[in-house]
Every structure is written in C-alpha cells, then in structure tokens.
Amino acid sequence: MYTYPVKVSNSPSLVIETRHLRKVFGDKVAVEDLSLQVERGEVFGFLGPNGAGKTTSVKMLLSLTAPSSGEGSLFGAPLSDPRVRSKVGFLPEHFRFHDWLRAEEFLQLHADLYRMPRDLAEKRIVELLDLVGLTPHAQKKLRQYSKGMLQRIGLAQALLNQPELVILDEPTSGLDPVGRRLVRDIIRDLRQKGTTVFLNSHLLSEVEITCDRVAFIKHGEVVRTSTLQTLVEGELSVEIRARNLSPQALEGLSRWGRNVRADGEHLTLTVDGEADLPDINRYLVEQGADVFALRPQHISLEDLFIQIVGTDGGL
C-alpha cells in the first residue's frame, strides 16, 4: 500500500493534528481517512451519524486504539506518547467506572494516575465535587449512582489535572436537561479559561450552542470543516409569500439560490447570504409579483447536518 510522506508539524498553536488516520478492523473500515487540525482554545465539534467512526477516531487520539496507518499528534507529540496525556482530560462514551469505589476514592485514584501531589489533589477533588454538585454524595459508592451522577463524576475525573485539552465523547447522550445544562456550562467555563475542547456528539442543538468550529464526518472521512459562524450565518433559507408570479419569474430566481420550491403562493429557496434579499425583492416586484412577505430563516445545524451527511445517516 502507498503510504503518504507524513509529516507532523510542531506548530504550538495546534493541539490536535492528524494526517490520514485510518483504522481497519478485519475487513471493516471504521475510519477511512481522518485529517484534522484543532487549534488551541477552540471548542471543536466532531459531528456525524452513529457508526461514522467518531468514537474510533477519539480512541485513536487517546491511543486506546492504534491507527492502521496515518499519523497524528497532541501538542506536537506523537499520539502514542503517554506523557502528553497528562495535559488531557477524557470522558468516555458510556462512563463506566470502577463502581465499587466511593466517589472520592475514584477521584483520588485518577488524581494518582495523573501523578498529582496529594495535597493538591485533595483540594481539587473538593472543588470538583462542588462544581458537579456531588459533594453530598462523595462517600457513596459509584454503584449507587444514577446515570446522570456517573456522568457528573466522570466529568470531574476529566477535569482533575486542569487539562489543556478536554475530550468528551457523547457527554450528554441519555441525560436529562439539567445534566446537559451542566455540561454546557462547564464547556463555556473551559473556553473562557482557554482550554481546548473536543466534543464528539450527535446532539446538534448542544453543538450549536457550545462549539466554535465543527467537522462533519461520514463513512470515517471528514466531509466538511467550518466555523459555526460561517456555517449558520452563511446560508439562509428564504420564505416568500407572493401572488401573480409567472413561471418564468420563478425560474429566474435560481440566479440567487438553490432548492427553489413553490407551493401555491408560498416559495422557499436557499441563498448564500442576507445581501441577496433586497435584490430578490426588487426582481420579484419588477416581474409584476405582489410580495406579501419575505422572511429570511437561518438554517439550523440539523438541516445542515442532513444536507451534508444525507438522510441515509451515512449508512
């Protein structure tokens, strides 16, 4: 097989960099070709349908799984270097932990694995239990915890070492609104402190609120990367209500936008930006149409997701 002449840059502003990461299990390709660059301080959303290879990608970043080919780095060091993980916090997808431990013991164990000095760890554990609202349950065994509580203690675990990079794999799936709110607030706090967050999620409303930049992954390949701002502000869906519109005039609308659809006096089309709106209005009037309403609507991330990934969910 041809291997790329892979070079991993040591640019200090890049927290995550991968080049053509590929993972094959038997004859099943889990990740086809993953090339990513995540900059310091950004909240990066990693989006894709179930089975697109998101979790496998995260596992490669953390060296839980070795790539079949390709290369990557965290903070400029190769993924396989365990030392670099002292700067990383990770909340795995199903948050399964050693449930025979008490919450406090659990955090102490992970602080030990981060090689934190005891006095610092004790202080940090008190802070974090408070942050995730588990102080009254610190002496309970994790076995007695609900799913939401496990997620909270898992988050605390991922923040013990005051990481420079936090990787969250589906942190809010299956959680109640209060739990989701907590995750959102924590991500916002992290961003303010300049921490890089890699958020693996298919809950688009969460991503829409929290992320600076997103990558769409389909069939184990990044199909699009964009800042959330250009994604959501760039494309507009316009809803028009107009009468006396000739078929020729309708055709002429495709000059400005895509997906032109007409249903009686209701029209919808997608345009590139708000600047097009006055032109469209002028054009319609010139064509002799009576315009009652012209409503721009920002496309939700969900619509965009379906546009990019497809309704088949990438299966």
Partner: protein, 282 residues
C-alpha cells in the same frame, strides 16, 4: 509510580470482592475441620501410645501435613484463577479500562500493577492457609516437617504461574474462554503428573518411560503440578523418601532445573502478556 497505583487498586478490588471473602471463609472452615481432625486422630493414637512407635507417629503427622498442604495448594490455585480471570477482559469489556489507559500511564504498568496486586493477595492467603496448617500441627504435636519454607515457596510459585497465565489469557480472550484455558492447562498438568507417577510404579520399563515422558511434556506446557510434586518432595519424611511410596509424592520428583524452568515460564508469560496488551485495541 503508576504501577503501584494499579497494584493498590487491584489489591483493594480483590479484597472487596465476595469471591475472596468466600475463599477466606472456606479456608477458615477448612482449617477448623482440619485442626479438629488432626486433634482426634492424634488423641486416638496417643491412647495406645507405645514409645517404640515414635517413628510411626511422625509418619502419620507428616502424612496429615502433606494432605493439608495439598488442599491449600489446590485452594490457592482456585482462588488465584477465579479472582484474576476477568481482571483484564472484564475491564476491557465494560470500558472501565478506557479511563485508566487514557491517563499518562504506560500499558505495561497496568499489566504489571495488576500482577503485583494479585501476587500480594496470593501471598497473604498462602501465609494464612499454609501457615495455618503447619501451625495447627505444630501447636498440637510439636511436629515440624522438613523444609516447610521451601515447600510453601513452591506452592506460592505455582499460584503466581497460574496468575500470570490468567493475565496473559485475559489480554486477548474473553473471560469465559480465558477460564477454560487456564483451568484446562491446570487439568492437563494434573493428569500428566498422575500418569507420570503411576508410570513410575510400573516395573515395565517401556510403559513407565512413556508415562514419564508424558509427565515431563505436560510439566513443560504447564509446570504447576511439577511444582507441587517438588513441594511434596521437600516436605516428605526421610522414611517415605527412602521407600518412595506416597499418594502425594513419588520417587521421581522434579529437579531444580524444573523450578528454574517454572520461573522462566512465569517471566516469559508476563512479558508476552505485556506485549499482547500493548497491541490490543481497547
């Protein structure tokens, strides 16, 4: 040192498990029954005590001691395998491994840490049980077997080998498959050992040579039974040694080379476990 953190975690986990508690309770029950049995047998014999039969008395004590340590050897093996068989495969399966491996830790530290944790548990168990049997006999009759420390050390080595094989299997097999593997190997060694022993009683040279060869080969595949035979040889009374007849030992006993082989076997299995776990996708 992360390896010590994992060792402590493993020891703590094992000690909080019901299985160890069950093993301890059964062990204590065994010690009680064993102690009572020994006491009443001794009392019966002492009733008809005849000073010319001091030697015979010591033979009986030795025989009972060997029987006790034989049970301890077996219980240690069972307890070791049952507690360690799912420690890697179980944590890989459930996903608890993910939060460990994503820390600044190397994978060998997890394997070796777990090994140390279980080794500590085996050591304590063996001191309690082996020390219990020998202590009961000493307290009741003042009898001390030859080479008690060497014998217990060999039983200990046997436990460590089973532990290592159990960890090795856990790096690639499911818990169930691993259990089948370890008990299977243990069984093969056991049968091979008895074939060898029976062979050594048979006068026919060609038959006995084949039997001995089978024993040697199974000892190389899994040295656990050979270690027991050597342990029994260490403890047996000089008279039995001269006669060469006992259910627990035989006139053909494993050499020091076999002990060296067992130690190498253990180290190789541990190295292989580390290597396989390093490559494992979690």
């Amino acid at each position: 040192m992360s390896v010590l953190v994992i060792a402590r975690l493993t020891f703590k986990e094992a000690s909080r498990r019901r299985i160890l508690l069950a093993a301890l309770l059964l062990g204590l029950l065994f010690l009680v029954i064993y102690g009572l049995g020994f006491h009443y047998i001794m009392r019966d014999i002492e009733k008809n005590f005849d000073s010319s039969r001091v030697l015979e008395l010591n033979e009986i004590r030795n025989f009972l001691l060997m029987a006790g340590i034989y049970v301890v050897n077996f219980l240690t093996a069972m307890m070791t395998v049952l507690t360690s068989v799912d420690t890697l495969s179980g944590e890989i399966n459930s996903g608890t491994m993910h939060t460990l491996v994503s820390k600044p830790i190397q994978r060998w530290e997890i394997v070796v840490g777990k090994w140390l944790g279980f080794a500590g548990m085996i050591t304590l168990y063996l001191i309690l049980m082996g020390g219990g049997v020998m202590g009961l006999i000493y307290l009741r009759s003042g009898y001390v077997a030859p080479n008690p420390i060497q014998a217990l050390a060999l039983v200990w080595l046997n436990g460590l080998i089973l532990l290592t094989v159990s960890l090795l299997g856990g790096t690639i097999l499911s818990t169930l498959a691993n259990g089948v593997l370890v008990f299977g190997l243990f069984g093969v060694a056991f049968i091979g050992g008895w074939i060898e022993q029976i062979g050594s009683f048979i006068r026919n040279v060609s038959v006995s040579q084949t039997a001995v060869n089978i024993g040697v080969i199974t000892s190389l595949i899994m040295p656990s039974e050979a270690l027991w035979k050597r342990a029994a040889h260490e403890m047996q009374s000089p008279l039995v040694a001269a006669l060469g007849v006992s259910p627990f030992s035989s006139n053909t006993y494993p050499s020091v080379m076999m002990i060296a082989y067992a130690v190498l076997y253990l180290l190789a299995a541990l190295a292989l476990a580390v290597r396989l776990f390093n490559r494992r996708d979690l």
